[in-house]
């Protein structure tokens, strides 16, 4: 399989002067991937995760299949509004992950850097921007982003807008919660909706948004149930599945498929008893790194219980005032504002889920996350929770020293077994 993907990667690389062909090749690769996950590669994978695999390919393919009815978004864009207008979001960080899955990330990253983009910029953004520079991305109707989680969003989305000459909107999320801040974000959401309406010719209907919010609330209920059940159970998991969950906990929240996934997950959790050391992950996961896969993918001894980004907002939204509710959700996201909010959330999850050890992945170029890593370490030490820092890159293999990561992780897991379970 690996050999086939590498040959496919070389095919993409050798045709970069023919962007339309590469665009088709990327879509073809993803279509084949969807067939593969739907009909093969199913052994031993719980039904909920098989379903997750399938819908994530669907989510990444939708904007490629229907560019005339799609927009670029970041992780924390208010995508509920797009769902209510039947518009497909292209989640740019996920696109980069899939490209990396094809072993093509270096080609696009090098292209972005050769244009002058910084070598230290987040590789998710660089892979995406390199694809843009090679014109192998479809021209979608618009680009919307929020100012959270990181600085890259605002400028990456402006770059998309200027390169493809499409309208763009940034929702500036205030640092702290207040009623004034909610009004401020709500008024921006209204402006954003006007922009989307004029870019797509579609009409926004607040009742359709209420329907999306109802689905989201029902989904959140199942998500909270999963967390409750995870306290006494553990699920088979992989780095890739944990990354896939970012789709359903963020830009695809509010969709029926997402609801179905969490329903299935809440049933699956009950099938797997507790056992092994319980590991909690902070920040994104380097799905391709063999030393980490070896220790954490479907491993009975070390169970990957969850990652913090998938638990950054768990409350119901007020369907009577949906725009205000989305505004609140953005401002109150634990990753917005003071870093202590994130720390408190992790401490709560680590305690509730009876975690034995926490691994923080310092993604290359992600200052918002690794900037506070020592504060988090200090707080977890107070709870007597072992904490490991791994430096690497979730996309660019060149920035992840495998040997060193293997040593650090193996030593950490040995240390956990030496301590015994909590």
């Amino acid at each position: 399989m690996d050999r086939i993907i590498r040959a496919y990667s070389r095919l993409i690389e050798s045709n970069l002067d023919r962007p339309e062909l590469v665009k088709s090749l990327i879509r073809f690769g993803l279509e084949v991937g969807k067939v593969w996950v739907d009909h093969f590669n199913r052994n031993g994978i719980p039904p909920s995760l098989r379903y997750l695999n399938s819908i994530c390919f669907q989510f990444i393919l939708e904007p490629l299949r229907h560019p005339e009815n799609s927009g670029f978004v970041n992780l924390l864009a208010p995508a509920e509004i797009l769902h209510s207008m039947d518009i497909y979001p292209m989640f740019i960080e996920a696109y980069s992950s899939f490209v990396s899955g094809f072993y093509c990330e270096d080609i696009f990253i090098d292209r972005a850097e050769s244009r002058g983009l910084s070598g230290t910029l987040c590789s998710y953004h660089k892979t995406f921007l390199g694809s843009l520079e090679y014109s192998v991305l479809p021209r979608l109707k618009f680009a919307v982003t929020s100012s959270i989680l990181c600085d890259g969003n605002s400028n990456t989305f402006k770059y998309i807008s200027k390169s493809y000459k499409i309208p763009y909107y940034i929702v500036d999320v205030p640092y702290e919660y207040s009623e004034e801040a909610v009004r401020y974000v709500t008024s921006q959401l209204r402006e954003m909706i006007s922009m989307i309406e004029s870019a797509t010719g579609r009409r926004f209907d607040i009742d359709r948004l209420r329907e999306v919010i109802r689905t989201e609330n029902e989904t959140r209920g199942y998500q909270r149930l999963c967390i409750e059940r995870l306290k006494d159970h553990s699920m088979p998991n992989t780095l890739t599945f944990e990354m896939y969950k970012l789709f359903v906990t963020h830009p695809e929240m509010g969709r029926k498929e997402t609801l179905e996934f969490f329903k299935l997950l809440s049933e699956d959790v009950l099938k797997y008893p507790d056992g092994g050391y319980r590991i909690f992950w902070v920040h994104i996961l380097p799905y391709y790194l063999y030393p980490v896969q070896k220790h954490l993918n479907f491993n009975d001894e070390f169970k990957l219980i969850g990652s913090d980004l998938n638990f950054d907002y768990l409350e119901d939204l007020d369907e009577k005032r949906p725009l205000e509710a989305i505004a609140r959700k953005l401002i109150l996201n634990v990753n917005n504002g003071d870093f202590r909010r994130k720390i408190e959330n992790i401490k709560r999850l680590v305690t509730d889920l009876r975690i034995d050890g926490v691994i923080h992945f310092c993604q290359w170029g992600c200052r918002q996350s690794f900037g506070g890593v020592m504060l988090l370490k200090r707080e977890l030490e107070k709870l007597n929770i072992p904490f490991l820092i791994i430096d690497g890159d979730g996309v660019d293999r060149r920035n992840s020293p495998e040997g060193q990561i293997n040593t650090r992780l193996s030593a950490f897991l040995e240390m956990l077994t030496g301590r015994g379970k909590r």
Partner: protein
């Protein structure tokens, strides 16, 4: 004393309470304290500010949530018991009416926080007076070579350096160069509201949403001769702008990236000096003294790994040359190279009219009459050897450069690697030790490769650990060296693309002797690369040619 870092900080609010404010310009060059409190890949400026605040006991600080690094700096400082007062101002990204109201409320929040912490009362009149006394109308005058600095924050020493090399900084549009557009605030206006407007109307930084006006000044002022685009290591906001504008700006542009310390000053000086040299409409008018009896010029290239000297006469004939390894003291190596070259030419030092120094150690050769950067010298040398050359790839001991020249041999653009040694001679030297093969045999050995393996890391340290892993897997030496060559090639090809390389290509510097690297690079860029017979003397040859030009320019010596 209250410290701050961002130009959007409402520091006059603090001053209106009678406190003094200080824009923190870190003077420390290492981060012992900061390294224990945050990650080494944090923006180097934020780490230096952290070090400065804790090391020099700045215990009152007002920050703006201008970027991810400063937000985390706030979180870290807030957790430090020695910090008495820390406040973060939430700066809106937009500048509509609603944003102005929000920013005014943010300033009120700062006033309330300061009042509460120090039990003092705010005076609107005091603020009004400060605002009115900040109004200024002075404008800088144009000079011979007018430079605009743009990008993220830059150290004051950069401006000084530009002026030292003959440039006139007409605009400094970095975070550290611009001041808010102060205007008089009459008694009928609320000074807090007026101040919020003044700050939001500042020249926008890359954090702001509407940045279109950032380039207006540069595009409208036709008297600007060159632009220096400065960014801080691990601050990525400005690279977006650089990528968007590099083809749009009509004047030459130099991109500089520093870690905000003096650690990389040598390389920064070379770049700035070379850039200004390339902008000079009139050639270097620096007074030099001619002592020799004949029209003989000596060029000395003091590089990090080797030092070379070339002696030419007025017919541009090479009378003698030498190459010696650079030892612990660059002056001793320069003296040795000179001595050998003089011997091979059969002349004495007194016969020479001019000695021109280039390379990293050029500033440390006291007997040289003139200094010219290696960028200009490699261009001169390569063009002299082959006037069809338009792109020169120079890979030396500690840096790699790609230089583009026009049909007259003038430098039109150039790029250098950053201070990391990936893709340089030093990288190959390290690997030769790991692989236990002399560096001069690596090229030949690599041509025997059979298995196409990859070394993914371009970092010297990480690549070394990859090489060790490959050795452990019993991979063939030739295959590993070929993989290393490909790694260097990727790095250099990216520089070529950045500078827009065009044929014909020439490679200079010590690494040009490595046939494996040259072959890989030719395959990567799809073009033939010429390598001169002695690639290590191209810089010193260029230095000598530059000296000869000075003699023939009939400048009043």
């Amino acid at each position: 004393m209250t410290g701050y870092v961002c130009k959007y900080t409402p520091n006059l609010i603090i001053e209106s309470f009678g406190d003094r404010t200080l824009r923190i310009e870190p003077e420390v060059s290492s981060c012992e304290i900061a390294d224990g409190l945050t990650h080494p890949n944090m923006c180097s400026y934020a780490r230096l500010v952290l070090e400065e605040c804790l090391g020099k006991h700045i215990d009152k600080i007002v920050l703006v949530n201008c970027c991810d690094a400063i937000r985390r700096l706030y979180d870290i400082l807030k957790a430090e018991p020695s910090v008495k007062f820390i406040h973060i101002v939430d700066l809106p990204r937009k500048r509509d009416v609603i944003d102005r109201i929000r920013f005014k409320n943010e300033i009120i929040r700062l006033i309330e926080s300061y009042q509460k912490s120090f039990d003092v009362n705010f005076s609107a009149e005091a603020l009004r007076n400060l605002l009115n006394s900040s109004v200024s109308t002075t404008k800088k005058e144009y000079g011979d070579i007018n430079i605009a600095i743009i990008g993220g924050r830059s150290r004051r020493s950069l401006e000084k350096m530009i002026e030292e090399f003959g440039g006139n900084v007409i605009y400094n549009l970095t975070c550290t160069g611009t001041v808010p557009p102060f205007r008089p605030v009459g008694s009928l206006f609320d000074p807090v509201e007026a101040y919020a407007d003044i700050l939001l109307d500042s020249y926008p930084c890359m954090r702001m949403d509407d940045i279109d006006e950032r380039l207006d000044i540069i595009e409208e002022d036709k008297r600007i001769d060159g632009v220096i685009y400065h960014t801080v290591k691990f601050c990525d906001l400005y690279s977006y702008e650089y990528a968007m504008i590099r083809d749009r700006i009509r004047v030459p542009i130099l991109k500089l990236e520093t870690d905000y310390t003096d650690n990389s000053e040598g390389q920064v000086r070379t770049r700035v000096q070379a850039f200004i040299e390339s902008l000079k409409r009139d050639s270097n008018k620096r007074m030099v003294t001619v002592t020799g009896r004949k029209d003989i010029v000596i060029g000395i290239d003091s590089g990090s790994t080797s030092t070379s000297a070339v002696i030419i006469d007025s017919n541009k004939s090479i009378l003698g040359y030498s190459i010696v390894p650079t030892g612990a003291k660059s002056i001793e190596s320069a003296e040795k190279a000179l001595e050998i070259a003089l011997k091979s030419a059969g002349i004495s030092k007194d016969d020479a009219s001019l000695i021109v120094a280039t390379g990293y150690g050029r500033v440390s050769i006291p007997f040289a009459n003139l200094e010219v950067t290696e960028i200009t010298c490699h261009a001169r040398g390569a063009f002299f050897l082959d006037n069809s050359v338009r792109t020169i790839i120079d890979i030396g001991g500690q840096d790699s450069k790609v230089i583009r020249i026009d049909e007259n041999g003038n430098v039109i653009d150039f790029i250098m690697n950053d201070k990391c040694s990936a893709g340089t001679g030093r990288f190959l030297e390290n690997m030769s030790r790991v692989l236990d093969i002399p560096v001069d045999r690596m090229g030949e050995e690599s041509l025997k490769w059979k298995e196409d393996i990859e070394i993914s890391s371009m970092c010297t340290v990480f690549a070394e650990s990859e090489v060790i892993t490959l050795i452990a897997k019993n991979k063939e030496k030739s295959d590993i060296i070929h993989a290393l060559n490909k790694s260097i090639t990727r790095r250099v090809a990216s520089l070529i693309e950045k500078v827009g390389g065009v044929k014909n290509y020439m490679m200079t510097g010590g690494v040009a002797k490595n046939t494996g690297v040259v072959r890989c690079l030719e395959e990567k860029i799809g073009e033939k690369i010429t390598v001169p017979k002695e690639p290590q003397i191209v810089g010193s040859l260029g230095a000598a040619l530059s000296g000869l030009e000075k003699l023939s320019d009939k400048i009043d010596f």
